[in-house]
Amino acid sequence: MSTDHLTPVLTGKTLLRANPVSKLFAAVVITLALMASIDWVSAAVVLACELVLMPLLGISAVGLARRIWPLLVAAAIGAYGTALLAEKTGRVLLDVGPLLFTEGSVAAGIAVGLRGLALALPGIFLLLTTDPTDLADALAQKLRLPHRFVLGALASLRLVGLLVEEWESLGLARHARGIGSDGSIVARTRNLLGQSFGLIVQAIRRATRLATAMEARGFGGGTRTWARESTLAPLDAAVAAVGLLIAGGAVTAAVLAGTWNFILS
């Protein structure tokens, strides 16, 4: 995954103004509701709501698919595997040699696939529509997380992009020394390990320098002020309410449909 896949798109208008904390709250509530039950109705309701929300968040279907295609593949594999191996209840749908699918096992497979996707999307939406600096401001000012930790994490996020470039130039530099892509699998693996070690050395070096630069600017004291105030507005109450609504709606629908399957029962 290249770095531009990790960068927020920030094209949506309305929800960009929402505080990251309210978006985080909505994402957590929805995730908790999904985790409480393994059934296809609650997962389908959440997934449908998420897809409906996409235009509002300024996320295009194509852009999203390009970023999360490994997740789609994983969800499909998970669904197939579950349908194949789950308890075989209900009518037989397909029976070809070792492949046996029944209504019960297919329903379980669909539930697992939908649930995986529905679980992953709130977090992805949060990251895609939130500026990391705003998120750090909100975490430190609204949730009172320690500022050293929050700002340290924010600074290291910026180093990730630099390390991607570093990895590429390390590869070229090693190729120039005579380490190429023309070796055996063993040689290639050894090369990959060596290059990874080189990257770790450079990462530590850069992180140490960055830490010095931060300390030289007074970072690390007990208290600090914030140039950007993280504020909560009526919009944030609405965002939180939508989160609660989706979570509540999913649970209600599953209970009414009789598919509710509480994980602890």
Partner: protein, 496 residues
Amino acid sequence: MTPAQASSPAAVHVRARGWGWRHGGRKAFAARGLDLDIRPGERVLLLGASGAGKSTVLSGLAGLLGTGDEGEQEGELLLDGAHPAEARGRAGLVLQDPETQVVLARVGDEVAFAAENLSVPREEIWRRVGRALDDVGLDLPLDHPTTALSGGQKQRLALASVLAMEPGLLLLDEPTANLDPEGILEVRDAVVRVLERTGATLVVVEHRVAVWADVVDRVVVLDAGGGVLADGPPGTVLAEGPTRDRLAAAGVWVPGWQPDVGGPLPAGGGEALLSASGLTVARTKRGPAAVEDLGIEVRAAGALSITGPNGAGKSTAALTLGALLRPRAGRLEASAALAGTADGNPFRWRSSELVQRIGTVFQEPEHQFLTATVGDELEFGPRRVSGAPDLRRVTDVAERLRLTHLLKANPFTLSGGEKRRLSVATMLATAPRILILDEPTFGQDAGTWAELVTLLRELIDDGVSVLSVTHDADFIAALGGATLHISGGAGRLVTR
């Protein structure tokens, strides 16, 4: 009093008495026996040989030297009578590497960062941000992305960020060593403007003295053995005499002096080795092209220097000529003299064939170190080429680059100059006909510079083709040959 003056903090007085510092785990002191008084508002250029402890003194003044495991301090070092660690925000430090100083994603936030850390109230922070950006001449929107800045702009941003603390002491640790000539002047002029407005005390460390000699009013030379070797106005310390000679011998670039590496080389004109036609080069497969329609011939026994502003695509062009990056379009052809038994298309070469023909020395030597000892590092290339390599050449190369006494050492533990020599030596071990170097003289002291230039001149004399990406006019003059100037996506060949 104008509002600007009203907000300027008092300049700091620096006092050192028998001050020294030893890093934890090291036997020798990094700096020792320092007695120094710097008056408020004085502008000091701090010089000394590599290892004389210049950076240690700056770290000490910035309050970055801890206690306990980190190291041991002796004597005293005081800013206005207070220990530097207790005077947080009184001293502001700008470091050498523009890339590893940026903390945040947006210009305004980056400048605000230091003021936030000092618990400055919000309204006052944004007042300071505006003024600091004005001071360093960065006329950019506050939400401008920091990744989109040039090296010179990044250093001015680092300076602005430090200024937002309103320090009474400005500390600069080789702030222009990694910059192109334009960037150097940008940063120097920004510092001068800032000092004129704030009247802060300045301590700057820099190898290239000429950049700062007109700006400072005092030069202090640290003795590698501890204490101060010379101290006085630039005109006196840098004037002809024993001090100047000792500085030059210690690798300091004193103005108007340049290491003697011999007269001009005879015009190169050996056989053609590599020819490029209609070459369009790009750093990434899908990204924009850096330079288009490049046509050039690389000949034996000559030099070719690639120049141009930062980010113009010089390195990309060099890496493509070195057969490391595939061109977007056009042809790169190896002559029979270069290819020998291998294919005429360099991109078809196996890596063991490549290292016998073209050696590429990267800007960061550590990127190319592969083994645990200098000896293994030198033998690595020859062993790639043949199972039973002739190691006499390795011994020769080690001797020629003065690495023989370091054969058992770990490459990562070498000094900057030694690392540079080793990275060149590893490439020479396989006797390539073409040697490509990316910014070989960036941040080098005069001693390492002279050593490198002398070696490259000898190589040219032996028939090697030396191709360098460089900003260094003295380096280009010393090697002679043609210059390829790259800017605006096109290359222009200048022959002399």
